[in-house]
Amino acid sequence: MLQLLWLIPLLPLAGFAVNGLLGARFLPRRAVALVGCGSVLAAFVLSAGAVRELAGGRFAQTLFEWLPMGQTPGGSDLTVSWGYALDPLSAVMILVVTGIGFLIHVYSIGYMEHESKGGFARFFAYLNLFMAMMLTLVLGASLPVVFVGWEGVGLCSYLLIGFWYDRMFDEKAKMSCADAGRKAFLTNRVGDVGFVLGMLILFGATGTLDIQGILEGAGSIDPWWCGAAALLLFLGACGKSAQIPLYVWLPDAMAGPTPVSALIHAATMVTAGVYVTCRMAPLYLHAPDAMLVVAVVGGLTALFAAIIGIAQDDIKKILAYSTVSQLGYMMLAAGAGAFSASVFHLMTHAFFKALLFLGAGSVIHAMAGEQDIRRMGGLRRHLPITHLTFLFAVLAIAGIPPFAGFFSKDEILAGVLRAGGESGSPIALALWAVGILTAAITAFYMTRLYLLVFTGAPRMTEETRHHLHESPAAMTLPLIVLAVGSALAGFLGVPEFIGGLPNYLEHYLAPVFGAAAGVAEHAQGTAALSEQAAMGIALLASLAGIVGAWAVYRRGPLAAGAGAAAPGGLTRVVKNRFYVDEAIDAVVLAPYRGLCRVAAAFDERIVDRLVNSVGGAVDLASQLGRLAQTGYVRNYAFVFFVGTIAVLIFVLQ
């Protein structure tokens, strides 16, 4: 099975080719769905077999010489091979990507049933292409291969956000779905510049682009360059994983169909930045300042996005900000050196956030497209399966034991605390407090979401209420599977001090994060608080959030007047997402547009005028020339005679 590693990204790619080329015209819906889901299922089976055979080791496979560019002046060999590598970290990733990806593919069959046949085939073709690119990203053995996957998932994200390119997404801001796709794509470009520059610095410093080679040589890189490369790679990760300041695209990415939000903008693609950061862990360990930046940015993002999440009314926007916030958590863990906690949270988050999005999709499906939670309520009775699975996910993300989110969140907070204990820096303790605060806020807004959607009196129109129905089996089955995952995935990483179960995931990932794990072990005793106390505080914070939300929202949404009782700016500021989009517009986009206007004026007034005057000169010459064309044969004959005589004189002379 391990030898078939190359087949794992290739299978979804083949599915993309079949559905993309033949799907719309020659294949029935059933066949499109079968190819789309079947290729991913096959990839999942292959992944499971390969991971089983890997047994915690490392396996690399070189397929062909991709870019034979020869020697650099410095003497390093710049030949990039197309190769894949499987180690415990990428093993966890491919299982999450193909497993959850398969469930979301199945769900899409139900969710996209009202789509036209062409749209149905196009959707599955894009999803399959995304799977292929994501697997390339995760399995790539050298940075350029990873980068191909990195850009490929960005492309698919763009295509799928703009899937309904002819629809409006945000009437108020006059933003169409196609605009939202463009925004995501362009924002990611900013980060990609960082990724490419970081890659080049690493090549310059170590003379190789192979990830293993870079990580082995990381220790001998000049610290300054090491920090620069780490920060530039982190800029790329900020774009992909929606961290401050490049997070603005993710909430607008909700313009895509809900399965896309679940697959790309919650479970897999947005974790690519976290994955790359963890993949380059040894590099970051040699650049402590860069680590600090990662942790601070992650912590701030987690808190900031969670606060915005409180005041949103669109069910998908709430989940989007929640995703940004949880990604911030993962970055915080990576920055604190708790890489395996970061990957653990990545995995549990993939389960419960995919479940939340798919549950939201089921709600939207039942509500005939309505996304505003102020017009929902009381859905518990109408959507029993969706309700129960959604509740599981809410408990998981709120951090209630024994659901998955509790363990992973706790491990992150413990990791941050350990980092603080080791370095004794107040920043780490502050970040820990931020993490606790974020946990409370997360529990608050998720409870608010749950209460407003599923409990209380129905607030939708009579017509919508009659239309309410539980979703088809293709949608509810993935929900149930994910709910089981959200409930149980946490047991893969039970902290050592609780006992009973070993911390499977940390042991499994230990070969990859060996150095980091050593640091963690070493610092165990010096933490400021005992792990038990820290866990108790985190749990109390979550409970406080839940109780608070229950107290405020159990009777339905706040009436417009009541919520703004202090019409003071704070509510409005939070509701308007701290005006970050507006600020970016004013600071970055407005000067850019001004520059564009200057360039356009230069183009029209000078370049165009120059080109036009060349044309004008030719025109003028032609006007003169056409005077000779009298149209009288007589005149032509006269010229002819004169010419003949001239030639004769010349010849006979």
């Binding site: 149209g631 009288y632 044969v633 007589r634 004959a637 006269f638 005679f641």
Partner: protein, 100 residues
């Protein structure tokens, strides 16, 4: 035997008359007649030189020119008739549709 330049002088005169006629007359039939005049001036030249150099080549050419002239007259007259049917005129200045 007459010296050839007498023939050549007559031929040049005929050619010049034909040439001027083509250039200044507007009636299509007259223009065609002037072209015949020029062709026959050339024929005279051919015959004169053939006689002078005791060669048959010039005589043969005269026959070719006559054949071509006959064909040309047939086509030319057909065009003139077609033009007259459409326009009720044989004035070449009126047939200037292809002018810019």
């Amino acid at each position: 035997m007459m010296p050839p330049h007498y023939f050549l002088l007559v031929a040049a005169l005929l050619f010049a008359i034909g040439c001027v006629g083509v250039l200044i007359r507007r009636n299509a039939i007259v223009i065609l007649m002037c072209i015949e005049l020029m062709l026959n001036a050339v024929n005279l030249t051919f015959a004169a030189f053939a006689n002078e150099s005791q060669s048959m080549t010039g005589h043969v050419f005269v026959f070719f020119v006559m054949t071509v002239a006959a064909a040309e007259a047939a086509v030319g007259l057909a065009i003139v008739i077609a033009l007259f049917r459409r326009r009720r005129t044989t004035d070449v200045d009126d047939a200037s549709l292809l002018r810019w």
